[in-house]
Symmetry: C2
């Protein structure tokens, strides 16, 4: 485990709790000291990378730190990551460490606190863990097994589809919360004194640490721009309709349908995917695109739920 | 009490629980039957309006129903309302019932369910109850006493300031939630499968009944247009900054400050306002503008909290 913040520290704890042999490395002396105090094996980045050719190396460092780190990864290393954006990470791996074996990863877990102290072995229980494999092989199976050991379910997709999806359901919500909080506060003390449920809910994530929100949103620039343009188009259309006819039916109805689609997701049924057969990669990606997920792995047979 | 839906029904129950003599009227046979079954005195609108010249008449009907109703209100009646917009209500009163004594009102309580069955005597406990008096007199005191009997605190302001404030902290949040829900659902099953806290929080109120959200937002058209323009300007600026420099610092920092202003509102100190003195109306409005509120009324002395 390289990087022992909220996510890295939680993976390290959870993997140890699942019975794995683990060791970690971090540039943060504070996180290293805390992890050692809890009995974890913390070594230098070089030692972490070279200790065992059999190890699965997990990168949990901010995007800007990746190029320097990737240059140090030995050829043939089995690598994954837990960064919140996938296209730029795949690009960096292809550029700086083309000889490693890589499957991208992104556990969808909270980010409002940070550092080793904020983590826990159970952070990923019940969460979606996105994987972005470029082929279906034993390395992918190992990465999925790690996620399943941490009691997450696995959502396979491509880097592009992942980045577009999280722009819509994670990065745009943060941006709209910031805009709403600023407009509300612009109404002065009276507006804030009258604020109740809808404003409280709509601005909650604006309370997150600004530098973390920026890193997340700015790191997914291209996909976020598309999501922002979609939102600007819809909000502009609502504005035009309100100003001309006075009506907001199209906007409000579309929002209501979208919310219903979230809260009443269709029933899932169980399927098996044989990962040793040709077409397994396409089958996995297709599963993810349809809102499905891998919930178990027995040899090379994935147990999945699809809708 | 004219109108026995969520708000009107809750006022009727709460006023009775506070020891008042109450009666109600409604155009909804369903609400009338339910209220009668619980032992309430339900009469025709005409009887409700004419039964006692001493009564405080509370209108809890949708905005479009106001003109017809106001034409029936006898001159000299002491009137208030609980509608979510105030400028249009004051205009309607001046136009259709210029001889009544009127103080506008708006209790800031939930609207996601509706009808008599959704109400309760305790709906307004701890809530802000906006009043929009045009003069400080015994009628205003009676309206404030009703709100205080229902355990709300009273926020005095003007119709214009009220409508601008609720556009920012109530109507815009509903509109942005609708836009976000539609953009998220536009990402298909994968996006919805990955949606977690930020999308859930940001879209929650898009689950409210569309016709209620529309009535609320469309009824406050002028003020909502200004709030939407503020939001469009900020979101457009964020888009421009992300596209040109890649940075979102200004947007994210402003949102974080706004959220902080909401959650860490300044400590309040107690003040008294003598409502019998000249300047009382200005003092009340000033209190509301600064985020203050009336929490008690003893004779003509208001106990208030200001920040």
């Amino acid at each position: 485990m390289i990087g022992l913040g909220l996510i890295g520290g939680s993976v390290l704890r959870g993997a140890k709790a699942a019975g794995r042999t683990v060791w970690g490395a971090t540039a943060s002396k504070e996180d290293a000291d805390k992890a050692r105090a809890e009995g974890f094996d913390v070594v230098t980045v070089e030692e972490a990378l070279h200790r065992s050719a059999e190890a699965l190396v997990v990168l949990a460092v901010p995007l800007p730190a990746l190029p320097d780190l990737l240059r140090k990864v030995p050829a043939g290393t089995r690598l994954t990551d837990v960064t919140s954006v996938k296209g730029p990470v795949h690009d960096a791996v292809h550029r700086y460490a083309p000889e490693v074996r890589f499957v991208g990863g992104h556990p969808m877990a909270g980010t409002s606190r940070s550092g080793w102290g904020a983590g826990s072995a159970t952070l990923f229980e019940g969460a979606a863990w996105v994987v972005t494999p470029e082929e279906a092989d034993d390395h992918l199976n190992d990465v999925m097994r790690l996620a399943l050991d941490l009691k997450a379910h696995v959502v396979p997709t491509t880097p592009e589809e992942h980045d577009e999806a999280v722009a819509r359901i994670s990065h745009l919500p943060h941006l709209l919360a910031a805009v709403l909080a600023a407009v509300g506060a612009g109404g002065g003390p009276l507006a804030l004194a009258l604020a109740a449920g809808s404003f409280g809910d709509g601005t909650r994530v604006a309370g997150s640490r600004p530098e973390l929100v920026r890193a997340m949103c700015e790191g997914n620039r291209d996909a976020l721009l598309m999501a922002v343009d979609d939102a600007l188009g819809r909000l502009g259309a609502a504005r035009g309709s309100l100003a001309s006819t006075g009506g907001l039916q199209k906007t409000i109805d579309a929002g209501h349908e979208g919310r219903n689609a979230l809260v009443s997701q269709p029933q899932r049924s169980a399927v098996s995917i044989d990962l040793s057969k040709p077409g397994a990669l396409a089958a996995l990606r297709n599963l993810g695109s349809r809102g499905g997920r891998v919930v178990g792995l027995n040899g090379s047979t994935a147990t999945a739920e699809t809708s």
